[in-house]
């Protein structure tokens, strides 16, 4: 059994999980949602094994090229989702969430992403690679759950305004989005900004260079800081909060993805 086989099995299991959640969405019974969560957890376990195997095969952290880091992002997102789902029961977010996970897995397995493990360039040979990337992506994984619950909030609140009830009330969605940001924000601050600065100082001799990736992670941080301040100090809730959380996630994704392809800088290793 090698890593690419496990990756493929994981991919299939996530598709099955999304399928269960979709059935739940249409027949509105609890059972398929339970099956969805169960298969997702199974997928998570096999995905973990795939990442461990990748680490052993390549001899370095499993997020040094786009394929690896997309796979890790999908893993972290499913982990975040499973935690939130067990804790707060957000079945309804399941189908949408797993569509995103499948999209990430599909991009990762596209032929455009080189899959072979290449030896690390000197700058990446550091344990800060582990700390910086894993904690940052874990933070972004929670932002991705907040993104889905915020988007669902917008639908649920417009439905409620028309007088229709929903199984997951907009108030709860708003609250869960905040919980996700409350987990994601400290993780992103620690992994993305603080560990990033420490590593930059060790490798490049300067903790901050206004490199586009650095700047965009600061922009992401500012957007979520805005989310927290408008919410806690000015009492914003609901629609406006949800919109800021959505913008924050898009900024995080641009930092992760867009900067590599659209803006050049120090972080462009591959």
């Amino acid at each position: 059994m090698n890593e690419s086989t496990l990756f493929l099995i994981t991919f299939i299991i996530y598709v099955v999980s999304a399928f269960f959640y979709l059935i739940y969405l249409f027949i509105k019974r609890e059972k398929p949602a339970k099956w969805g969560l169960l298969t997702a957890s199974l997928g998570l376990i096999i995905h973990t094994a795939a990442l461990i195997l990748r680490t052993i095969e390549s001899g370095h952290a499993p997020f040094t090229n786009m394929y690896e880091s997309l796979s890790f992002l999908a893993w972290a997102s499913v982990l975040a989702y499973v935690i939130i789902e067990y804790k707060y029961r957000i079945n309804k977010a399941g189908p949408y969430f797993f569509l995103i996970v499948i999209a990430i897995m599909a991009i990762a397995s596209s032929p455009l992403m080189p899959k072979e493990a290449v030896p690390l360039v000197p700058a990446l040979q550091s344990y800060w690679l582990w700390l910086h990337v894993s904690v940052t992506l874990l933070g972004e994984a929670f932002f991705s759950v907040a993104f889905i619950t915020s988007a669902l909030y917008l639908f649920a609140s417009s439905k409620e305004r028309k007088g229709k009830g929903t199984s997951l009330s907009s108030e709860r969605l708003d609250n869960i989005s905040y919980r996700c940001v409350a987990v994601g924000f400290p993780l992103f601050t620690l992994g993305g900004l603080i560990f990033g600065m420490i590593w930059a100082y060790k490798a490049w001799g300067s903790y901050w260079s206004w490199d586009p990736k650095e700047t965009w992670s600061l922009i992401t941080w500012f957007v979520f800081a805005l989310y927290l301040h408008t919410r806690i100090v000015m009492g914003w809730r609901g629609r406006r909060s949800a919109l800021i959380a959505i913008i924050g996630f898009l900024a995080a994704m641009f930092t992760y993805f867009g900067v590599n392809y659209l803006l050049a800088g120090l972080h462009s290793y591959t």
Binding site: V118, P119, V121, P122, A123, Q125, S126, W128, A182, F185, P186, T189, L190, L193, I194, M197, I198, Y201, K202, A203, W204, G205, S206, Y207, W208, W210, P212, T215, W216, L218, I219, F222, V223, A225, L226, H229, T230, I232, V233, M234, V259, L263
Partner: protein, 458 residues
């Protein structure tokens, strides 16, 4: 009429900086400006901007948009932002301090019952027995308890995780320390690149010590990719070696506030040592080995002198038909040689180390000599970045404080349980209420549990 006295102006200024709306506006403006700074390439040459933006380039460079993060108006924004954070934080601090260190007791059972979590029951026990039970139940849950007595009434205030009140203030403090560190780095920081060859001793600018490169080597992976660069450096103070350390990427050397990073490497191509072989097409046994240096003619026989005029490590002819080097790596080394007999030039042309048959020798006079560039050597240098950054310690301190603040703000919510006991006719009436600013569900179950065990306690 407007009051323009200095005191009221000060008040107006503080009022301006204490507004949360200003904070929100500043966050949005700084974010948008930062986005702009990533869309316009920063710190490039004037020519590049002229080529890219045409007439707009003048406007862009003058307004600072080509170096946003160091422009006066961006720094002004950051100063405004810092002032805003300071005033906002201080303004909210004093009521919090009062709440933390001088909390008010609640003396009315009615107001306890208006709290989010509340409960009331009466038990068949005396006042002091109930007091023991309340104190025990609170302190076993790590609440710190304050008690007051008035006649037959007892008042309790149990609190824990009071530091959580200050989470956001500590985050702001950390952020200010980081900004301060950034200012110090910008003003007092210093950075330079040193190219140093093996055996060379360099004086570090502004420092009272020297640096010697003992050894430099490049390590490769089996497939030929570069694995690492390693420089063995010795610090020399007053002519005496103090310490020796191998530095590599990600592992710098620190000495007296200076940090030395492995940042690049290269060859001193201005002074190469070349070995050129001369052959004769008419005589297969003829072979003459020549050791040549740039600009130093060497005698081949009594009449002929050979000299190297140019050396190029990575020969290429660019689109303007100019000979140039593609990189500083020795990928396609080439030398331009000339042969002279007295005052008369016999031949000249390029010879290539990798392509011996490609040599282009133009003969002015008939000769059957051919030349091959057999070997080339140049001293390799290690590129070392020397940096002194007194701001960096502020940055790490600020980051630590900021992180502690975030954890306090999100995961250390202050909790309060207040209780009032009233004794009448051998029974004690217990009224209790509790609040927590965050994690309300967890606190609600904690409060419930507290009341349940209070009811059960003897």
């Amino acid at each position: 009429m407007t009051d323009w006295s200095s005191e009221s102006q000060m008040k107006r200024l503080i009022g301006f900086f204490s507004s949360v709306k200003l904070a929100i506006a500043l966050i949005i403006i700084i974010t948008l400006v930062s986005v702009l700074g990533t869309l316009v390439p920063q710190q490039r040459s004037l020519e590049e901007y002229a080529e890219h933006y045409g007439r707009l380039s003048q406007l862009l460079t003058k307004s600072g948009f080509t170096d946003v993060y160091h422009s006066w108006w961006f720094i002004a924004l950051l100063v405004f932002f810092s002032l805003n954070i300071i005033v906002c934080t201080l303004k909210r601090l004093s009521p919090k301090l009062r709440r933390a260190f001088n909390p008010s007791m609640e003396f009315e059972p009615k107001s306890l019952l208006s709290m989010k979590n509340k409960d009331r029951f009466s038990r068949k026990a005396g006042l002091s027995a109930t007091q023991d039970a309340v104190e025990k139940e609170l302190s076993s849950r790590y609440y710190r308890v304050k008690t007051r007595q008035k006649n037959n009434r007892l008042f309790f205030l149990g609190r824990k995780r009071i530091m959580g009140l200050f989470g956001s203030d500590i985050v702001h403090l950390g952020l200010l320390v980081i900004l301060l560190g950034g200012i110090i780095s910008g003003l007092a920081g210093f950075r330079t690149n040193l190219n140093i060859t093996e055996g060379e001793i360099l004086t570090v600018p502004h420092a009272e010590f020297q640096l010697k490169l003992d050894k430099f080597n490049t390590e490769y992976y089996p497939d030929g990719r570069i694995k690492d660069w390693k420089s063995t450096l010795t610090v020399i103070e007053n002519e005496a070696p103090i310490r020796t350390q191998v530095i590599e990427v990600n592992h710098p050397l620190s000495h007296k506030g200076y940090v030395f990073y492995q940042s690049s490497y290269g060859w001193d191509w201005d002074n190469p040592q070349l070995e050129v072989w001369a052959k004769k097409s008419s005589d297969p046994d003829f072979l003459e080995r020549l050791d040549l240096q740039l600009g130093k003619p060497a005698r081949m026989d009594e009449n002929l002198t050979i000299s190297v005029l140019h050396f190029i490590p990575d020969f290429i002819i660019n689109e303007n038909n100019e000979i140039t080097t593609r990189s500083l790596e020795p990928n396609n080394p080439a030398a331009f040689i000339e042969g002279w007999e007295g005052e008369e030039k016999i031949f000249s042309g390029w010879i290539f180390a990798r392509y011996p048959d490609f040599g282009r020798i133009h003969s002015e006079k008939e000769t059957d000599l051919t030349f091959e560039l057999k070997d080339f050597k140049a001293l390799q240098y290690s590129g070392i970045q020397a940096a002194k950054d007194p701001g960096v310690n502020f940055i790490w301190a600020g980051c630590t404080v900021l992180m502690i603040g975030l954890i306090l703000a999100f995961y250390w919510p202050p909790k309060e349980i207040k209780a009032i006991l009233e004794e009448s006719q051998g029974r004690t009436e217990v009224t209790a209420g509790g609040t927590s600013s965050k994690n309300r569900e967890t606190f609600a179950s904690e409060f419930k549990e507290f009341m349940t065990s209070l009811r059960r306690s003897p």
